[in-house]
Amino acid sequence: MRTICFYFQIHQPFRLKRYRFFDIGMDHYYYDDYANEEIIRRIAERCYLPANQTILQMIKETGGKFKVAFSISGIALEQLELYAPEVIDSFKELAQTGCVEFLAETFAHSLSSLEEDSDEFELQVKMHASKIQSLFGYKPTTFRNTELIYSDDIGRRVANMGFKGMITEGAKHVLGWKSPNYVYCCASNPRLKLLLKNYKLSDDITFRFSDWSWDQFPLTADKLINWISACPKEEDVFNLFMNYETFGELQSKETGIFEFLKAIPRMAEKADINFETPANLFSKKKPIDRIDVPYTISWADEERDTSAWLGNELQRSAFNILYSIREKVRLCTDRKILQDWYYLQTSDHFYYMSTKHFSDGAVHNHFSPYETPFEAFTNYMNVLSDFMIRVREKFPEGVDVEELNSLMKTIDAQGKIIAQLEQEKNDTTSTPSEAKAKKRKVECKAQKVTKERKSTAKKEKSTTSVPKSKKSIA
């Protein structure tokens, strides 16, 4: 029996507002609320809500045989919560059917998997998983990286986090003569199973569905199922991975995309094809072979590599500067800083800086809020400059991260002791003499601690100020 595995990607970045250099150090709010709200509302109304409705209906009509998977980035979830909470509700409704799987990814839809010597990637994946858990009461077991970026190394890291499977691009230069229509496994850790995107069929729907100049136009559910049936018998998994915006946004409602989607289960049933979520496939099927991916792949452009985000010097420089302050940001407890840290990591910011469209397709251009990649770079760097100033202000200059870390730990521990002692002090309500003795003891101890604390503070003061939050404890 053949299986179709549908997976839909949902992501919208927090677009930056026009941020001139004279705003650096003055204005700490970076986002274009108007554009972000306008875009997410539009897509919600044209795509997310009607598509969710359609899928819910399909699940009900087929009695739970129709199954899909979603990957919603943390950034997109936050925007939906802000601007279109009804979409979250409709996903919750879908989650309750049990026919929908939510995949794990990086919270910020970031390129952190390409940062090799830090745990930023792992932290973000955990953060996203807890977000999904809190919203949908569901612990994701399948991983999907930003823009389907994958390599053996990333596979190893994902397996170490305990994921059973991962989905990625069926890039031609990786597969060679192999077919994407099987379950594979990771070369560096065979326990991690892989599903590869069938880019031919997926792109037929995403990009060519309403293309009049395409020789197969119009695409019908009938035709799609026939193509799948015509494949060799052994090929049993057909991975149709696409942007959710395909339904209603990239292909407008008027093209008949929703009717196309609705007709698929009926046609599939006739041809004896069923639907499955990635997690179920991983538990049912055995991998046929391993896939070696020494160089990073993704689902973008003709090259299927990371050059859309890190292809030119502008992009690489912005990326390196961003991650150069990672360690300091991670010492921060300020929620606003951490929030900006996630929002600034979103891969889209780097995508806008791509200069590839100077020669090839206009795809980059189409989705960018900027006129040119230079404008994108300048705006991003201005914002990043301000962000870096804010992060640096939190810490004394000239102290390296390790030293800072140990100082922070000392302050933290002492803060706890002081709090504990004060607690004890307040608790002493028994006999006056006993209380006096205890009090003296406590005061003595407290004095000692304060002394210690002072010496640490001095050490810090010699460079600059102590973080504000800690001061208040003292």
Partner: protein
Amino acid sequence: MRALMFGWEFPPHILGGLGTASYGLTRGMSAQKDMQITFVLPKPWGDEDQSFLRIIAANKVPVVWRDPNWDYLNQELAGRMSPDEYYRMRACIQEDNNHIGTNGIGSIEFSGRYPDNLQEEIRNYDAVAGVVSRALDFDIIHSHDWLTYPAGVHAKYVSGKPLVIHVHATDFDRSRGNVNPTVYSIEKAGMDHADHIITVSNKTRDTVIDQYHIDPAKVTTVHNAVEPLSPEIQAIQPHHNTKDKVVTFLGRITMQKGPEYFVEAAHKVLQKTKNVRFVMAGSGDMMEKMISMVAYKNIGDRFHFTGFLKGTEVYEILKSSDVYIMPSVSEPFGISPLEAMQVGVPTIVSKQSGCAEILSNAIKVDYWDIDAMANAIYSIITYPAMYNYLKVEGKKEVDGIVWENAAWKVRDIYDRVLGLK
């Protein structure tokens, strides 16, 4: 294919971009083996490069029949023209030009510049065109810029050969919309009589169609290009004598070039950062106004005027710059940003410049958007990746913009006009 071209300027003695473009285009066309170019100039200096074309000195062409003695003739021709040619030309005088003031050999004195009696010079040039077009054999006439349109039209009706005019600028660019009616009428007549019109940018093409009411089918854009750097220029060493970044404006300080926007942007940048200097190189009627503007804004310690630059000084300044900026209000093409990119200087151009149509690796801003301009300057001087990218990719890009390609487009137009295609 033999082309008779009428021009006004030719290197090394040039006053603006017209001479550079004329030279580049003719040189590019000379790469076509069957191309012969005869270039008429009002006043050649004798040191022009004639290796790839023939220059006819209009100020030696007889327009009134005189019979000077041999020695006097040789002395007057001063090597600019051979006596044989003089006699051949003299045999072709068919019009009565006695109303024009001529010298001892029957020729007209031209200044070859843009004097106050420019209208008169244009009319006189027209008279020369009548003689030249009778004396020479050619297949097509090509007139560069409005000064030579009347000459081209005259030559067309004398010879019956088709006329192509090359619009390097229109009066709408020079005057910010307040056109001089006399100039407009000359331009309009030239365009009406031309068989085909070449414009240096789509922006100029739109002006020709909208403001001069010309049939769009008759107007084709051929973007300018840039000559490869000569070894002498490549050898010039930049002298960066300060640790500061240098942002340069280079050109005539006139209304058309938008110098005041540069001063405004400089002021914005200097409010935020100090390690930068601004240079305004060139001269023009708005220079004094700019100096007082700089003084008023109190940025004189960081803003410098160089006055008019000659010869290699231009490249010395360019090579020592970190940013080149051309905030022109209306620029038909603008070759200078391409020259800056050739020496690896990141460039900012206004969207109202023709060259913005073909450049990808330059920053484009609206001339009036001083915030965006200041932001772009700041970006280049602050973020090394931006500077390096524009430096390297800009040079790569501009090295691919060669006159040979433009020349082939012109050739294609010739062929179409002559019905060969």
